[in-house]
């Protein structure tokens, strides 16, 4: 869908839907929202809905950032401690590597 062709209220509606969907533990939707509406929020000449779109984009960006930090922390923590956590780590794994603790 070419966002530039949609009317402004439609843009705002889409941006809000994406922002709200992100709360269902879907940080990637927030990331998409930021990329998709960044131009509309910050580059386009001002229009009425822009302030709201801007707000959603900023909130989505913050959400994405927090999620990224959290995920990276978890991945590092898990990979570093998988062997030490023993059974617990196995129970939360889907694929256990072969031949290593």
């Amino acid at each position: 869908m070419d966002i530039s062709k949609a009317p402004n209220p439609r843009k705002l509606q889409l941006c809000r839907i994406y922002f709200l969907t992100g709360f269902a533990f879907l940080p990637f939707v927030w990331a998409v929202n930021v990329c998709w509406f960044f131009e509309e929020a910050f580059r386009k000449p001002p229009y009425t809905e822009q302030t709201q779109i801007k707000r959603y984009v900023i909130y989505s960006a913050i959400g994405t950032f927090i999620w990224t930090i959290a995920l990276i922390t978890w991945v590092i923590l898990f990979q570093a401690n998988r062997a030490a956590w023993g059974a617990t780590a196995d129970y939360i794994s889907f694929i256990i590597p072969l031949g290593v603790p």
Partner: protein
């Protein structure tokens, strides 16, 4: 004319091609030369992993022949182009050397090859000084057995043991037995590696690649948990418990009943031994001295007693029977006997499908366990405490052993106390120290215990191949053309002594006959188990015209579920054949349901016989008990890792400089090609002047 020339040219080409021969082999395959051998693999117990594994994609090392300790020093101290793959002869395959290679790390030593050049070898045992050190009879919650003191090596049961079987190696170890393969390796080493060591890092070297990647890691608890894990999306199996079958048979058939209560009037004398052996390498290890001798003696004792005492009704006590047991997996913390004790405690032995009453400990009169008999001139009867039945049996044994009438010239001494050999009886004594276990064991004298070299040469066996009847007992003075000092005669003597002593115990009368065990039976037995499964004795104990065994000795390692289980199968049929009564009145058609079995028998004519043998499951109770504490040391916890393949091949490994050059050239060509394309596409008008623009042919889009 031109057309004709063309046709001729094509024909010529085709003809040339057909004479030259088409080689469809891939270049990649031409680079490698496969090497045949046997690999070391990973086993795990409740606390550790042992054995070897390669890296996932295969371990590569530069070949280096080790002839002296100095060669090893060179590799460890100043390797010019690591990682290396030392080719080690058995006499240098010592604990010290192997641990030094291990400590050097996989960056220096990535593969170890053991080559079969055994001239200078004087000993080779990878078992611990105290086999089954962490199981068997233990006292006061100790983790180690009380029957062997590992700190006093000279007095242990295997003083030549290096314990390498219980070490974990970060590199694969491959054993190459075939002299041709060893020559191939040596030739490659001499041609490419064995000169000018300083320039090793600058030239191509002959290297070996071993693939033996193991899936399991850490210990049995971890790998069993991962294997049984419900989330296991890959469905991968990490390890399998060591699992096999014990074989048992009774001297007299037991009466079938529908009752599942123990019959206290029934009495059993257990005569037992070990069925399995082990070694460091997959599919190898005959265990000729460490366990096959005792199995031969057990078989001969059973056969002789069966011949002497054909019917229970002629005995003073017809409710007295002899139970012959061959335990599997005893090399790995007494798997078979631990399971039997567990089954007897839960009244699950024999299984209900046999329709006989369960046998419990109260039915056991005593147990005579046949351990290793390395030196039959020095046999001891081990007991925990001195009891009258043990004294009596010893006296009976010695009466025949020393008798001038038979001329066995064997002296059996008594040994009372905790200094008990590592045999199956320990599992029974562990449950109850008052259990009447007597163990026949010679002073340890086997320098190749649990190794690939415990073979025909270690026991000095020569096949007599007489083609005479081995199912009849022989006269004591008739050696059947077999040397008096041979292995066959040793087995004949010991088994006759044991059988005579048991005869006296059962009948209450002294044995007066001149008939002793037949040395030819031992001859045939060893031929089958040491040389070829395609042998007269195995043929006689199978169904007529059943497919012949492979011309290789049966594998005697316990293995896992779905493993070969050859030795238990053959022992089962052997017990069936040698301990059964002929049923001449039953025709072949009706001889299909156990206990009736149709055997090819001695001359292949076929006969129906009433058998008494059966299997019991040899899987450690640790795998049956829910939430078993793997670290408790109560039961055997050995598992074997799974693997996808074993392979070894040699090739020329380019030098590091060579590899870097090739990669750099590739990168440069890649960058140049980019620049070239950019230049061409930006200056296309200059290059392709006459051509119209690519979009010129297309009509202009109509304006919307």
């Amino acid at each position: 004319m031109a057309q004709q020339m063309k046709t001729a040219a094509i024909w010529l080409l085709l003809w040339l091609q057909s004479t030259a021969g088409v080689l469809g082999e891939r270049t990649r395959e031409k680079m490698y030369e496969p090497i045949l051998g046997a690999s070391c693999f990973r086993r795990l117990n409740g606390t550790h992993q042992t054995g070897c594994s390669s890296t996932f994609s295969g371990s590569v090392g530069v070949l280096h022949l080790i002839n002296t300790d100095a060669d090893l020093e060179f590799l460890l101290n100043s390797p010019p182009s690591p990682p290396y793959a030392p080719l080690i002869p058995p006499h240098l395959f010592t604990r010290t050397n192997l641990l030094r290679l291990k400590n050097a790390g996989p960056k220096t030593i990535s593969v170890v090859l053991l080559i079969n050049r055994s001239k200078r070898m004087t000993q080779f045992s990878h078992e611990l000084n105290c086999p089954n050190q962490y199981s068997g009879l233990k006292l006061n919650n100790s983790t180690e057995t009380v029957t062997c003191d590992a700190s006093n090596v000279a007095n242990t049961w295997n003083r030549w043991g290096t314990g390498l079987l219980h070490e974990d190696f970060p590199f694969p170890i491959y054993y190459i037995a075939d002299p041709e393969e060893i020559d191939k390796l040596e030739e490659c080493f001499n041609k490419f590696n064995n000169f000018d060591y300083e320039s090793h890092s600058l030239r191509s070297l002959c290297a070996v690649e071993i693939k033996s990647f193991m899936s399991a890691a850490v210990n049995s608890e971890v790998c069993m948990r991962r294997t049984n894990f419900i989330n296991n999306l890959g469905g991968s199996k990490y390890c399998d418990p060591l699992e096999g079958r014990n074989v048992y048979a009774t001297l007299y058939p037991r009466t079938p009943t529908e009752s599942f209560d123990v019959d206290a009037t029934e009495k059993f004398i257990i005569v037992s031994c070990r069925l399995d052996t082990t070694s460091m390498f997959d599919g190898l290890g005959l265990g000729a001295m460490d366990s096959l001798q005792s199995l031969a003696i057990l078989t001969q004792v059973a056969h002789m007693l069966h011949k002497l005492l054909p019917s229970a009704n002629s005995q003073p006590d017809p409710k007295r029977n002899v139970l012959f047991l061959a335990f599997n997996g005893e090399s790995y913390d007494y798997i078979g006997s631990q399971r039997l004790v567990y089954d007897m405690e839960t009244l699950a032995f024999p299984s209900r499908s046999t329709r006989t009453t369960p046998i419990s400990f109260e039915n056991i009169e005593f147990m005579l366990d046949i351990g290793t008999l390395d030196d039959i001139g020095n046999i001891k009867l081990h007991t925990l405490t001195s009891t009258p039945p043990a004294q009596q049996l010893l006296q009976k044994l010695n009466q025949y052993a020393k008798s001038s009438r038979y001329g066995f010239n064997v002296n059996i001494e008594s040994n009372v106390g905790y200094n008990i050999p590592p045999t199956s009886a320990q599992s029974f004594l562990r449950r109850d120290q008052k259990f009447p276990a007597l163990i026949l064991n010679a002073a340890p004298n086997n320098r190749y215990y649990h190794s690939i070299y415990d073979d025909i040469d270690n026991v000095d066996y020569v096949y007599a191949n007489t083609s005479q009847d081995y199912t009849k007992l022989a006269d004591v003075n008739d050696a059947k053309n077999i040397s008096w000092s041979s292995l066959q005669m040793k087995v004949r003597n010991v088994s006759s002594i044991v059988a005579m002593a048991l005869y006296e115990t059962l009948t209450g009368k002294q044995y007066q006959g001149n008939q002793v065990a037949n040395p030819l039976l031992a001859d045939e037995f060893f031929y089958c188990f040491l040389m070829s499964s395609d042998c007269p004795l195995f043929k006689a104990s199978s169904y007529p015209n059943s497919p012949a065994g492979v011309p290789l000795p049966p594998m005697r390692y316990i293995s896992v579920l779905g493993g070969s289980q050859e030795s238990s199968g053959w022992t089962y049929r052997l017990f069936g054949y040698l301990l059964s009564h002929q049923e001449p009145s039953v025709p072949k058609e009706n001889c299909t349901q156990l206990p009736l079995f149709y055997f090819a028998s001695l001359n292949g004519t076929g006969e129906c016989r009433c058998t008494t043998q059966n299997y019991t499951h040899a899987l450690s109770p640790a795998f049956l008990i829910e939430d078993y504490d793997w670290r408790s040391g109560q039961y055997s916890t050995w598992t074997e890792s799974t693997w996808s393949q074993f392979s070894a091949r040699i090739f020329l490994r380019p030098s590091h400089v060579h590899e870097v050059t090739i990669l750099s050239i590739g990168i440069v060509v890649f960058i140049i090609s980019f620049c070239l394309i950019y230049i061409i596409s930006s200056r296309w008008e200059v290059l392709f002047e006459d051509l119209p623009a690519s979009n010129a042919a297309l009509p202009m889009p109509t304006a919307c």
